[in-house]
Symmetry: D2
Subunit: 289 residues, 4 copies
């Protein structure tokens, strides 16, 4: 029938358009077949090696950050994360130290020759943060805060882009495109678990997202094992799975004394647990540093 | 039995704790038992009557907005919505007319004595928007953009607060608390469908959220039937369900010519469909205006 | 390109096939435009009126069932449900009285001239159940137990077919097709909530499923407000929404003393609450009996 | 503070209660700390080694099964799967060869000294299947078909128990308890992806379920990489992740000519792809056979 032919033409047009859209994305592997390698003061993400990013959930004090960072440095790990601006569900939860937190991170990093990664939650703070951070993190709750994405796209600083709590893989890719479209090519994508009906874990780690993102884009991919599981006992097994499936880096939270942490105390490792986490990973042969 | 007594004590402890948590929230009905009524230039939301908010998905031109607004006005509907700042998944989709869109909305509203509702996506734009808007909308993608929530909490302008795509009801309530904690009491909550596995509809309308929000908070509750279903054929039935279950208002999208709309063409009603939508609602006895 | 044309042809073929598939379904409105009306001893489901099905979650004793049924009868409600075979998550939970439960239901129904609806969980029990039941219920956990569907398709007894906990609407429709394909046309579909991340309710009532099912199929549609919400305080509001959106019937659980119920005590109404539930529904104008 | 002490008591009560519940389950590691090893004619599942189960989605002919099995045998793989009774969403899809399919599987297995795994969908067929099968599979759609679980619990034949499409981990564990409570200890649990909003994969592989199941129960755990991803290109990466995180076995579908397969053609490997799948797994060091 004529109606059917029209439908066909329409469908064909739709597909053509989708093809075009995908071809046009700057983050796409079709646009750039070779891997993007993000160089963080010598620590390369995306070059085929495995990296670990660690640090406390929230920055609480110079001493707290220094203790964790020192232990990391002893293990040869230079990628330090810590939350200064904390997006919290309730306005009455601890909201982070803000700029003071960034200053602490910078000071510790300078003393120990480390790299600082921290979340920025507002476009207005990006400019200020450039003085303190080596990597700007866009958090899960801001994964579709497009004004923030555009802002970090316009600065000369690597961006760690987390998947939203219920973002599709396609939405994560298009979110990264907002950044790259503004000129910033140094983007690391991060799978951090998605929201499902299953409550045995805080979120459901979508491990398949790693090979899909590696195939669809040329960007390096990290797995945040802390927020995806929310369980200390699952950090090491999921880190193994992440490296085995091809993740370029794993992020995990470490606190000198998790029991008194101002946020997420149940899911952070203490320093002894962190060292044993690294030992097990190395013993598995999946992490070589 | 002893076991049973322990269970009871345990249960009592659980309830006590929950009670305490909830009592502290300013949005809670425990804190303020009577309904909050938001007065929008004479159109009251939350007073037991039913209101309809309508308008195009995106503001495209003065003529487009005027045509829809005129038809609304003829039907006695004064609450005009329209998107000027459009958060879109891809950076290459139409991003809205921005400030020019706000100007168009204001001009039409002034000519026809209507009330303007539009989404603001960045804390920096809130101040500017005060000159144009009667209600500031916080969209689903920004439901946990806490900097934006704090900003709209500090101004003297009603806020329409949408539930996030995968927010729990508790997260929506705590998001509203961010606003009220800054002093702004004029908040309307909006259920707009949640993300589930079911793809027969764009999202899954969580109709039970309406009585839960009315019970837990003192704030008025709206249902966005357009974004929850994404299907023109479901707008009228879901609007009936929304009013029947106690929603104070329903939001629906109307465009003079949906086929050429710059966004969401498949789910908007044209003007004739809108009039028939209203006729059916009135005939059901659930909408009385 | 040639590749593209082939893709088009393939796509067109796919659509043709889908169209054909849909056209061929016996449950489809395309196959039979007029509504199917299921007549349960004079109580018609699907004729435009609103029906209520009530009764205890589990059959526990003759006295328990009689007390509920008597109260229903006084209110003019003849559709009695009660669980005899109970599919329970744990093998150590109460599994129901089995055949003895069916006998109790039948005895009470005969004494009070009522209609009995109860779940059968095994193909082997269908034959036996014919002596006791007026409607065979296929439960959510058995919605894709195709051997059971085929079995109930082969008998001359109406079937109440519940949506699976995470079935799509399409899967529910195809499940009903298994029954109709075997010759049994008396099928009532039942939306009972789907599993999502939201835990404020036991499941998320997918109210939009009602108009979709009414549009796609010619079968009557029921809403189980008890299992979808799991909350006594939401039964009446969701029943209103169900009738407002076009449901042919609502199912709710009633127990003489919910606190001592052997299953699901938190969500059942006692008899006074049930009467007040009915009074409110009648007052809303949405339920006319 | 006093408040803190109450919180602690409360927490302790919560844990006590959970402990009690879990201690009672026969599948629990608290009940039996050492690993259960299921011996399938010499192929041990759960002894610390890695096993692969392969075969076609549906049994179509002797030749088809023989060709796949021969290739498996050449690679040292003896665990042969194949669907004879196929639970299909639509009654008009290919429903499997039934008993004839079991005969084909048995004949090929006897000729090549292999082990046969196939799904049984009805309690009535369990007895008959004992003559043909070495392992009875309970499929995802029947994971809460408790009559079937009880039936396979009463026979002397290992059971492969798949997680339901939207089962929680707790429901899977309690489902296995139905089997063990009837006396059958030879149970293998299988993660096969859960239903979520993400549609880039057929289901979302919940990789964290593996260490949780290993910790909570003493049973071996398998991962079905075919049904969890539904994508041929993801089979090898997810198999690596599964072994890395501690799965005892991986299941994947292989067909001599996937393009003409009667079911699930898009996700099956052909024989060359299967050999390359095994080569890559061996090269990764995560699979040692």
């Amino acid at each position: 029938t004529v109606q059917h032919i029209f439908k066909q033409i329409f469908q064909a047009g739709l597909e053509l358009q989708e093809d075009d859209n995908r071809k046009e994305l700057l983050v796409s592997r079709k646009k750039k077949p070779e891997d993007t390698i993000v160089d963080l003061k010598g620590e390369k993400i995306g070059d085929g090696s495995q990296r670990i990013v660690a640090g406390p959930c929230s920055v609480e004090s110079y001493e707290q950050v220094y203790e964790v960072a020192k232990s990391m440095k002893n293990q040869g790990i230079r990628l330090l994360r810590g939350g200064a601006f904390k997006p919290r569900t309730s306005p009455y939860d601890f909201q982070g130290l803000g700029k003071e937190g960034l200053e602490i991170l910078r000071r510790v990093a300078d003393e120990l020759d480390m790299v600082v990664i921290s979340e920025i939650v507002s476009p207005q703070d990006v400019e200020m943060a450039l003085d303190y951070l080596d990597v700007i993190q866009v958090g899960a709750r801001n994964s579709q805060n497009f004004e923030l994405l555009k802002e970090v796209g316009g600065v000369d600083k690597p961006v760690l882009m987390k998947r939203g709590m219920s973002s599709t893989i396609d939405e994560l890719i298009k979110g990264a495109e907002y950044i790259l479209a503004k000129g910033n090519e140094n983007i690391i994508l991060c799978e951090r678990g998605i929201r499902t009906y299953e409550k045995a874990t805080r979120n459901t780690l979508d491990i398949s997202a790693v090979p899909i993102l590696k195939k669809e884009t040329h960007l390096p991919v990290m797995v945040d094992v802390t927020h995806s599981t929310g369980r200390r006992d699952l950090l090491e097994p999921t880190a193994r799975a992440a490296f085995a499936i091809g993740a370029d880096a794993v992020m995990a939270e470490v606190h000198p004394d998790p029991a008194v942490a101002l946020s997420d105390s149940a899911q952070q490792m203490d320093i002894a647990q962190f060292e044993s986490f690294l030992d097990s990973l190395r013993a598995s042969g999946l992490y070589k540093y």
